[in-house]
C-alpha cells in the first residue's frame, strides 16, 4: 500500500467548487423580480433610447452579485482561518469581536455623524474603524509576554469585547430617535443593498490580497491547527504566522462587515461544510471555502431580493435561515 500523492486529488474538489461558484455567478444576475433579456443587455443598441435590460443587469444586479461574491469569499476564508488559528471549529470571523466593533462604529456614525459634508455616508468608514478598534482591544487584552497568542484567552477576550461593544450599541440605540433606530436595526441585520461599483472597488483589493496571503501561509496554518507546540518544534515561526493569520482574517472581516453589516453564520458554517467534503487541509480548505462562500452568499442574496419582491429581506436573515437547517442536516448525516 503506498501513500497517495496529495497533490493529485486537490484539483477535482477545487474544480467542482469553482464550477459551482461560476454557475451561481452566471445565474445570479438572471434571476430577479424583473425578467431581463440577456442578449439585449449585453449586445443591445445603446444609442438614443435607454437600454433597461442593460441598466438592470450592469447597474442593479451585477455589482451586487460581485459584492456578494467578495463578501461571501472573505467571510468564509476568515472563518476557516480563525478556526485553524484558534484550534476550535466553533470559531467564526466574529469570534474576536470584529463585528461588534464594526457595529459600534456604524451605530455611532448613524446616531451622531450622519453624512459627511461631501454627501457620502460615514457609516462604512466608522464601521471599519470600529472593527480595527475591536482587534486592537483583543490583542491588547491578551497577555503575550513571550509573543504567544493562547487560543482560549483569545476567545475569552473576543467574547468580552463582543459583550462590551454590544452593550454600547444597545445604549446608543436606546438614545436614538425612531428613524435612526430603524437605520441601526437595518444595519445590524446585514445586507448587500447599498451597492455600486465604488464600494466594490474599495473592499475588493483588501479582501483579495488578504485571501492570497492566507493561502500562501496555509501549510503553516495546517501545522498550527494541529497544535502550537508541535508546530513550533517543527520550525514554524508561530508568532509570525499567527500574527499574519489574525491580522489578514480580521482585516478581511472588517472590510466586509463595514460594507455589508454583520452577515451571520456564513463564516461559521461554510468552512464546516467544506471541511466535511475536502477535509481539514487548509491548502484545499481555504480556496474551496472561498469559492463556496462566494456561491453561498450569491444564492442567499438572490433569494433575499426575490422571495418577497419587490421588497427585500436583509441577507443576514437568509444566511442564517438557509444555513442553520442545512448545517443541522449535514451534522446529523455525518453522525
Amino acid at each position: 500500500m503506498s501513500i497517495e500523492f496529495t497533490g493529485k486529488k486537490i484539483f477535482v474538489p477545487l474544480g467542482l467548487f469553482f464550477a459551482f461558484f461560476l454557475s451561481t455567478l452566471a445565474l445570479g444576475p438572471m434571476i430577479g423580480p424583473v425578467d431581463i433579456d440577456l442578449s439585449n443587455a449585453l449586445f443591445g443598441e445603446n444609442s438614443d433610447s435607454r437600454n433597461v435590460d442593460a441598466e438592470i443587469f450592469f447597474l442593479a444586479r451585477l455589482p451586487r452579485i460581485l459584492l456578494a461574491a467578495i463578501a461571501g469569499a472573505g467571510l468564509a476564508v476568515a472563518g476557516a482561518v480563525f478556526q485553524a488559528l484558534l484550534r476550535n471549529d466553533l470559531a467564526a470571523p466574529f469570534t474576536l469581536g470584529v463585528s461588534s466593533g464594526a457595529s459600534l462604529g456604524a451605530v455611532i456614525a448613524i446616531r451622531f455623524l450622519g453624512v459627511s459634508p461631501q454627501g457620502f455616508s460615514l457609516v462604512p468608514i466608522a464601521a471599519f474603524l470600529g472593527s480595527l478598534l475591536a482587534i486592537a482591544l483583543v490583542f491588547g487584552i491578551v497577555p503575550n509576554k513571550r509573543g504567544e497568542l493562547p487560543a482560549p484567552v483569545m476567545i475569552l477576550a473576543g467574547v468580552t469585547v463582543n459583550f462590551f461593544f454590544a452593550a454600547l450599541v444597545m445604549f446608543i440605540h436606546y438614545i436614538s430617535d425612531i428613524s435612526q433606530s430603524f437605520q441601526i436595526v437595518r444595519w445590524l441585520m446585514g445586507g448587500l443593498d447599498v451597492t455600486d461599483y465604488s464600494t466594490l472597488l474599495c473592499i475588493s483589493p483588501l479582501v483579495l490580497i488578504g485571501i492570497a496571503c492566507l493561502i500562501f501561509f496555509s501549510r503553516d496554518l495546517n501545522l498550527l491547527s494541529a497544535g502550537i507546540e508541535s508546530a513550533q518544534s517543527r520550525g514554524v515561526d508561530i508568532i509570525f504566522v499567527q500574527r499574519v493569520g489574525f491580522i489578514c482574517a480580521s482585516l478581511i472581516t472588517g472590510a466586509v462587515v463595514s460594507v455589508c453589516g454583520p452577515i451571520t453564520f456564513l463564516g461559521l458554517i461554510v468552512p464546516h461544510i467544506v471541511r466535511l467534503i475536502v477535509g481539514p487541509d487548509n491548502r484545499i480548505l481555504i480556496p474551496a471555502s472561498m469559492f463556496f462562500g462566494a456561491a453561498f452568499l450569491i444564492m442567499c442574496d438572490t433569494t433575499a431580493r426575490t422571495i418577497i419582491a419587490p421588497a427585500e429581506i436583509p441577507v443576514g436573515i437568509i444566511t442564517a435561515m438557509l444555513g442553520g437547517p442545512f448545517f443541522v442536516w449535514l451534522l446529523r448525516k455525518k453522525l
Binding site: M1, S2, I3, E4, F5, T6, G7, I10, A84, R87, N88, D89, R146, I215, F216, F217, S218, R219, N222, L223, S225, A226, G227, E229, S230, Q232, S233, R234, G235, V236, D237, R275, G279, P280, D281, R283
Partner: protein, 274 residues
C-alpha cells in the same frame, strides 16, 4: 555524579547539552532550576520524577519550544537558538504527551506534516516526502491506519502516528514527553519497543519523560531524576532506582527486587498493611 555517565558512553559524541538552564512560567515559582545534563549519541535517556517536578518543561527547553530564562541548551556544541528553526527540526523532533488535534486530519496527513522543515512557502508534498512518510509509517507499524482519521483512532495508535510524524522529520534525536502515560500496558510496551528498535537499529538518540519507574528501568540506558525543578541525580537505572534515592524523592516507602530475566531493578510500593 557524572563519572558513571561518562564511563558508560565515553567514546560517543555529545548531542544535546543543557548548561545551567532555568525556566519559570510565573514569577513566584521556577519550573526548572539550574539544570545541566548531557545526552550522547545513542543514549536512551529517561527523565523521571514526581508530578510537577519539571519533566515536561525540561524537555520543552531541550526541544527549543521554551526559551530558558537562564542558561543555554546546546546541540552539538552550538546553541539551539543559533540554529535556524527548520534546521534544528531536522536534527531533533519533539513528541507531545497528547496531540490535542481537533480537526479530522487523516493519519498520513499528520505524518506528512513532519516534512514541514524540508519545505517552504505554499507547496504540496513531493514523491520523496511521500516515500519518507511511508517508511516512517512502516517503522511504527501504522500503515494499516492509512486513510483513517487521526481523531478516530485509539490512544496507542495516535502515539505511534505521532512518532511516525516525528520520524518523517528524519531527526537523529527524539524527545518524547510522557508518550505512554495514558496507555495501557500493551501499548506502552509496543511504543517502547518501537523506540528501542529505533535506538538500537537506527541509532536514534531517545530522550523520554516517563512516569513508570519499572518501564524506565527496563528500557533506559540512563536516567535523569528530577525533584521540584532540580536534577537531583543521574546515571544508569541500577544506581538511580536505589531504594533510598527513590524513597526520598517520591516520599513513598518502596522496596526493590531484581527481575531475574534481564537483571533490571523492579520497584514495588510498600502498602500500609505491610
Amino acid at each position: 555524579m557524572n563519572n558513571q555517565t561518562d564511563k558508560t558512553t565515553n567514546n560517543a559524541t555529545l548531542v544535546l547539552e543543557s548548561k545551567g538552564v532555568s525556566f519559570h512560567y510565573t514569577q513566584e515559582k521556577e519550573a526548572v532550576i539550574d539544570a545541566s545534563f548531557k545526552v550522547k549519541k545513542g543514549d536512551f535517556l529517561g527523565v523521571i520524577g514526581p508530578n510537577g517536578s519539571g519533566k515536561s518543561t525540561l524537555l520543552k527547553l531541550a526541544a527549543g519550544i521554551l526559551n530558558p530564562s537562564k542558561g543555554e541548551v546546546f546541540y552539538k556544541n552550538k546553541s539551539i537558538h543559533d540554529y535556524k528553526k527548520k534546521d534544528f527540526a531536522k536534527l531533533a523532533a519533539w513528541i507531545p504527551q497528547e496531540s490535542g488535534i481537533v480537526f479530522p486530519f487523516k493519519t498520513q496527513e499528520i505524518v506528512l506534516m513532519g516534512r514541514y522543515p524540508y519545505k517552504s512557502g505554499f507547496s504540496f508534498e513531493t514523491p520523496e516526502d511521500i516515500k519518507i512518510a511511508s517508511e516512517a509509517m512502516e517503522l511504527t507499524g501504522t500503515k494499516f491506519l492509512y486513510g483513517k482519521k487521526f481523531t478516530e483512532i485509539s490512544g496507542g495508535e495516535k502515539q505511534r502516528v505521532l512518532i511516525a510524524s516525528a520520524l518523517a522529520q528524519k531527526p537523529e534525536t527524539l524527545i518524547l514527553d510522557e508518550p505512554i502515560s495514558f496507555l495501557d500496558i500493551k501499548y506502552q510496551i509496543e511504543i517502547l519497543e518501537i523506540l528501542r528498535t529505533l535506538n538500537v537499529k537506527y541509532s536514534v538518540t531517545v530522550v523520554i519523560a516517563l512516569h513508570d519507574l519499572n518501564l524506565a528501568s527496563k528500557y533506559c540506558s540512563q536516567l535523569l531524576l528530577l525533584k521540584e525543578g532540580k536534577i537531583v541525580n543521574e546515571g544508569p537505572p541500577k544506581r538511580i532506582l536505589e531504594q533510598s534515592i527513590i524513597e526520598s524523592v517520591y516520599e513513598t516507602q518502596i522496596k526493590t527486587l531484581i527481575d531475574e530475566e534481564d537483571g533490571s531493578l523492579v520497584i514495588l510500593p510498600r502498602t500500609k498493611n505491610n
